[in-house]
Amino acid sequence: MGFLVTTLIFVVVGVIASLCARICCNRGPSTNLLHMTLIITATVCCWMMWAIVYLAQLKPLIVPVLSEGE
């Protein structure tokens, strides 16, 4: 199912970003935690947005009705 696969992609991207932040700018545990929080928040926000739009289109109640001119 597309939903789970894309969700997994979001998770993977989030994990990779966290690892990058951990490796590239490792400045003590409290700063790393901040970076982690930021990345998780950003990933969750982006995932939510995508998931909402995806779910809304899953079983459409209304369908596109083309305009007369086209």
Partner: protein
């Protein structure tokens, strides 16, 4: 408060809690005081308390030194003014010179000032006499011309006369004329004249007044001076006329002199004799050139002096400001006269203890003091200042939060989440990846030229944009993302992530404009299906989607806010707040709006046609009725009854227990404090003045009313805040509609004309509309709405924001300040 805090509920995170602070006392020997404060200012991590608050600025110990600093700053300002007049820029070329001491600098500045003033006075005097000479020369030339013309015309007349007389000795020749001619010279001798310069705009009035005052018994000649003349008195360039007044009699002369004075006309005496005039002109020219060289030499000399000042100016300026701030700080310390030392008290972050102690040691060593400074930490119940260690990226987000209110000491900082959620909510309203890229390019310019731009002075609006460059950077990144989700690039959709899920019902595509397309493939994998664009059902569909999205995002963010209040309660070890505030709040919000969110998702996943408005409204009006066709899942009625009941229970739960529990806690505390009285005597010595607010009055009615207000606010707020999140939908709708109007009604319309000129005009209008309306105004409005959602809807769930900011004594802050 300081000892109450420090609860270790979770690992520490940067920026989430303000730095733990301590009140420190430093006892500094008199002889090393100045140097100690100097070193502490370089560290910049102590906020000194004013221990002499009751004294006026003039009664303080170092008032005299501050006055001297003010005087030196005045001298420096004078130099700056002179330098900018001379067009010199202060440059710190020779920064390698040895440091001057305060007293040396004062003497030096005094010397330089008197030298400069004397030089200026001399220069002014010379310049004035030079200008006078220039005017004199002009008068000589012009007036000389009058005389010359007058003489030549007189001679011509004479000759004519003579020829007339010799030519036709007729009877008609008046006999008197000869007599007149004889008497003429004697009359001319009596005529006096005044010459000078008068400003051109006054020349007409000048002439008229002269005429009236002397009843027409004057003869005035004026000549225009082409070039503007520098007026010797005012030193400004003025357009002037040379005049020559001829009159007779002493009274007329005195009148004319007065009029000249009144009109600001400079008078210069011109010899009558033409030969003498020529001689004067050469004499004056000689003197002019002489003066010119003198003035030039003077100017060069002054320029050199200013240049040497300019080389040192910045250094001196910093030094003076530093000294002033040091003495200002020293004035805040209390003096122990008998023991010859100063006592300083102030707040400092705990992590800076080592740095401060090092600085104190260095200061003692460098000033050869025998006694070292004493550093100790005081216990206090005062609320410490709030200090977040921010960097250039986080500081602008922190400022967004601080603009609402500075966090209470060590309370959860919404700034952490604001870094992500603020640009995200902005982008929900500003979703268009074309516009996002434009914004990104603009902000990249600021970020890449950061070093250069931060050193120079920018305009007000530019300064603000530059300060928020990282906020805008994040906003643009999220806008690109949400733009991809909305599938809008300047309102044009692209099939970037695969083919549209919709297709015709049959090969002929006959009913695509009546019944519409049908879903033939899997759902479009990322974002809004491009097939929606331009269809008749686009708006109803997007409205429903974005409205529901706003609710979902809003409920999520409000839940995050309430969860943060839980972490606050955990941190401050406040069990009452967890059980009587956090839990019922969570239950109330999620029983109503959490349930609504779940219904939305269930409806999407099942494709049910249930009417959610109906479900929500009848959940309150008649919860026991059967749902009928609006049923989304089995057991929905029971679930709704349970949720409604728990929401109803949550309201009194929020309201009642907390005041009573606080009262019980208070009486228990009072019982304890009777036994602790003996120990208090020792601590009284240390905290003599800090006892305020120790045992504040416990007013039950006040607490109860406060809790009542809080409960009502939360219950009503849950509804109104959720509704408030609908602004996400409204603004994002406005943005996409505006951008599609600009695209279709400007760009496509112009394209349709098949005319290059119209196309170019169309493109220009499109660009200006896009930049002006969408990129500037829409950015601003989306920014403000995102700000509101954070300040009101998010932060009122947990943020108290009644702290005060840590403002340390630091030289780096002084350097940036304006004079």
């Amino acid at each position: 408060m300081a000892e109450q805090g420090g609860g270790g509920c979770c690992p520490p995170m940067d920026l989430f809690r303000s730095e733990s602070m301590q009140l420190v006392q430093i006892i500094i020997p008199n002889e090393s005081a100045h140097r100690t404060i100097d070193y502490l200012g370089e560290i910049g991590l102590i906020q000194f308390k004013d221990l002499n608050a009751e004294k006026s600025p003039f009664q303080r110990t170092y008032a005299n030194q501050i006055k001297r600093c003010g005087e030196m700053a005045r001298k420096l300002r004078l130099f700056k003014e002179q330098m900018s007049k001379a067009g010199l820029l202060s440059s710190s070329v020779s920064a390698t010179q040895v440091d001057l001491s305060f007293d040396d600098l004062e003497v030096k500045l005094g010397d330089l000032e008197s030298e400069l003033i004397e030089m200026n006075a001399n220069g002014d005097k010379l310049q004035r006499s030079y200008n006078e000479l220039v005017e004199y020369k002009l008068v000589l030339q012009k007036a000389g011309e009058f005389f010359h013309i007058a003489q030549s015309s007189a001679e011509a007349l004479h000759r004519e006369h003579a020829s007339n007389q010799t030519g036709e000795q007729s009877l008609e020749t008046p006999l008197l004329s000869e007599q007149e001619a004889v008497t003429d010279p004697s009359k001319q001798v009596k005529l006096g004249f005044i010459t000078g310069l008068v400003p051109r705009e006054k020349s007409m009035a000048f002439e008229r007044i002269l005429f009236r005052a002397t009843r027409g018994n004057v003869f005035l000649r004026q000549a225009v001076v082409e070039e503007p003349v520098t007026d010797p008195v005012s030193g400004e360039k003025v357009e002037k006329n040379v005049f020559a007044v001829f009159f007779s009699g002493e009274r007329a002369k005195s009148k004319i002199l007065k009029i000249c004075d009144a009109f600001g006309a400079n008078r210069y005496s011109v010899p009558e004799d033409l030969g003498k005039q020529a001689q004067m002109i050469t004499e004056v020219s000689g003197r002019i050139s002489e003066l010119k060289t003198t003035i030039d030499v003077g100017l060069v000399h002054r320029g050199n002096l200013l240049q040497t000042i300019g080389n040192q100016y910045d250094r001196w300026n910093i030094l003076v400001r530093k000294e002033k701030s040091i003495y200002h700080t020293l004035n805040m310390l209390s003096i122990d006269v008998t023991r010859k030392c100063l006592v300083a008290e102030g707040w400092s972050p705990v992590f800076a203890t080592k740095q401060i102690q090092d600085a104190l040691q260095r200061a003692t060593h460098d000033s050869n003091s025998e006694v070292g400074a004493i550093f100790r930490v005081l216990r206090t119940r005062e609320m410490p200042p709030t200090y977040f260690r921010t960097n250039k990226f986080t500081s602008s987000f922190q400022e967004i939060v601080d603009a609402y209110g500075v966090a209470k000491y060590q309370e959860a900082n919404p700034g952490v989440y604001t870094i992500v959620t603020f640009p995200f909510l902005f982008a929900v309203m500003f979703g268009d990846w074309g516009h996002g890229i434009c914004l990104l390019l603009a902000t990249m310019y600021f970020i890449l030229r950061e070093k250069k731009l931060s050193s120079q002075k920018l305009g007000d609006i530019m300064e603000m944009t530059f300060g928020g460059r990282y906020v805008i950077f994040m906003m643009s990144l999220f806008s690109i993302y949400t733009g991809l989700i909305y599938n809008e690039f300047f309102s044009v959709p692209f099939e970037l992530f695969g083919r549209s899920a919709y297709g015709c019902r049959d090969p002929s595509c006959r009913d695509s404009t009546t019944a519409g397309l049908i879903k033939v493939r899997d759902t479009y994998p990322f974002g809004v299906d491009p097939a929606w664009h331009g269809t008749r059902s686009e708006l109803p569909y997007l409205n429903s989607l974005k409205m529901k999205m706003s609710i979902l995002l809003g409920v999520a963010q409000m839940n995050l806010g309430i969860i943060l209040s839980f972490f606050n309660a955990l941190f401050f070890r406040n069990g009452v707040n967890i059980w009587c505030q956090f839990v019922p709040q969570m239950i109330f919000l999620n029983a109503l709006f959490g349930y609504l969110s779940i219904l939305i998702i269930v409806k999407w996943c099942t494709g049910s046609k249930a009417d959610l408005y109906h479900v929500m409204i009848y959940m309150f009006l008649s919860p026991t009725d059967e749902l009928g066709e609006n049923q989304l899942f089995a057991g929905q009625k029971t679930t709704q009854l349970v949720l409604l009941l728990s929401a109803l229970v949550a309201v009194p739960w929020m309201l009642l227990p907390k005041p009573f529990l606080l009262k019980a806690q208070h009486t228990r505390h009072q019982g304890q404090s009777y036994t602790a009285l003996q120990e208090a005597e020792e601590s009284l010595l240390v905290e003599s003045s800090d006892d305020s607010g120790h045992h504040e009055e416990f007013e039950f009615s006040e607490i109860f009313v406060h809790q009542l207000i809080h409960t009502i606010e939360f219950v009503l707020g849950a509804v109104s805040n959720t509704a408030s999140y609908l602004r996400l939908w409204a603004l994002s709708l406005a943005h996409s509609e505006l951008s599609s109007v600009f695209y279709e009604k400007v760009l496509l319309l112009a394209w349709g004309f098949n005319n290059v000129i119209i196309l170019i005009i169309g493109i220009i209008v499109f660009i200006f509309a896009t930049v002006g309306v969408l990129l500037v105004m829409e950015t601003l409005s989306a920014f403000l709405h995102a700000l509101r959602l954070h300040w009101v809807e998010f932060q009122n769930k947990f943020y108290e924001g009644d702290g005060y900011k840590f403002s340390p004594f630091s030289f780096t802050l002084i350097d940036g300040e304006d004079e």
